[in-house]
Amino acid sequence: MKKSIALLLLAALSLYVYVRNDVPDQDPYAITDYSRLHPVKVERVVKGQEERQLVAIVQEARQKGLTVSIAGQRHSQGGHTYYKDGIVVDMTSFNRILAVDPARKTVRVQAGATWKDVQDAVNPYGLAVKTKQSQNIFTVGGSISINAHGRDIRNGSLIKSVESFRLLTADGQIKQVSRTENADLFPLALGGYGLFGIILDVTLTLADDEMYRITSDRMSVGEYSAYFQNRVKSNPDIRLHLARISVAPDSFLTDMYAINYTVDRSIPLRGHDRLNEGERLVIPTKLMFNLNRSFDWGKNVFWDLQKRFFGTQQGTVISRNNAMRSESGFMEYREAGKNDLLQEYFIPPDELSAFVEDFKAVLRSESMNLLNITVRYVNRDEEAKLSYAREDMFALVCLFNVPLTEQGQTQMKQSVQRILDAVMKHRGTYYLPYAPYASLDQFRAMYPNYGVFFNKKDEYDPEHLFMNYFYENYRGE
């Protein structure tokens, strides 16, 4: 009797787990990206090993009329790295560090190397990356292809630290590309979302590794722009900066805190520059983040804890390389049928508080589960054809917990388009590596160079060998 009950329970539990996970985003035989949206079957995934092999893949695809998509760590979220029935070239195994030149302060790496690989290689020389995302899990190729930005407020977006790269184009040729050689391709392939060819290796310029002292300040959203202008931007010793806006119901989109990393020349680098390995306190942080995701009271508690935690960090010192490898383990989330997706809005400083008011109004009327907003600063940088920083901008990185069902996605699309209307009203733009909820009109209004970009695509790759859902979503016509 007891045994039958136990068996029945076990069978029921198994059935429950099966049904719960029987959704497209959990299909192990389909390929998708970090978003788990839009899973499809592809012809095959090939690991990039050497140059000759990559050239052969491009030639084979041309002969057979197949498409090629290029994948790094696949942390983009709009099908940028794959295409139905096409070949996916997985660049993560093409990841050697080719040369560090301490005199010129440059590093040359294969495109599949991650920022962690780069940091490990340059840290012993007292060097550091100029611009990168907060975390170091991404590939260099994937990061320059979306023209990333991060906590550094002095070095512009990533394109600025790229000196040159080699590009395998649709005709099977390998081209050296820099601001002087094949210069036309430079602002196309950087921020080109894998549409102009496979970036093989990259030469990046580096900064010095330095010791920073961490300080944090609290303020309201209304005070932040002036604070940034007068206290942060005007102090050249502040090198890295980020801020957070509260999503907790008790202080919704009003409370903020900012964290600054100020050079401290009294602390020698040697002896303090050992790279942090592993992550601390993942279990409690992930638990807290789960509560933040699930409950309003969880959001209040999480916000309080964050503020308190950064209070305790006040005055601590950290090397640039360690400040640029922040933790990500606590964000991992695999729940079937749901995911945490990023959306990012660039807003000129003088428009910030007015935008946030409009944003608040949209969020209040749409039922969106907003988990976190971080704020970064990017300098004006119009070099990339699809540049998002047509003037100096605050970047509001918003993390939403969203259902992956068709209905949930339709709802999300409507809500995001309303947010984007507000973004446009305040001279803003949005970030393209994430799920493409924008309407074609909104995209075109915020990226007026779209015509040039896609015409150049046709010119360099007339047969559309390099293909992905970014192209399909935004090409239009």
Binding site: K3, L10, S14, V282, K286
Partner: protein, 198 residues
Amino acid sequence: MNALNAQWLIRSQSIVTLAAGMIYPYYLLFLKNAGNSYSKYGLAFAVFTVSSAAVSQWLAPRLDRHGVRMLAASSLGMAAVMLAFPWVMSYGLVLVLQLVMGICNAMQKMSERLLIADHTQHGSRGVVIGSFHFWTSAASGFAVILGGFLIDWLTIDALFYASALLYALSAWAVWRYGRHGAGRAAAAESQRAAHRQL
């Protein structure tokens, strides 16, 4: 002897399989990551079997007298290993832990068999062994599903810690009831011996 006397054994070993079943499939994933190549992965397993085989020869002559102690020690050893895993940062240390687990495995497997034999009688073992197998298998079924949820919700490290807790619990259960049960088994054995003499 009947099934009742073996119940503490079934219970404590169900906790052990709960602890083991919870971690085992996920532990394999973890090991594969630590190994990079399949041959390195294979080696990690070979270390386990070699240490298990070697220590069995040292344990064998001591088994009859110290069965319960060994069973408890194996659980405690496993608990320690589970606590250590999240902190391991090198392949060399993974091998050391595999070695310790090999030793625990020998202690557990050998003493478990001994105690089953001690607590059953020739001709009536089927039921007890069946019961033993049922509960330990069912326990690992539940464990592995729970383990999946726990990793999704927290992290694989949390699973290692949960498993350590269960191993510690089973060590306690073995110690608490095993001595008692073993005492009874010994008493019964001497009774039987007395009967035979009569």
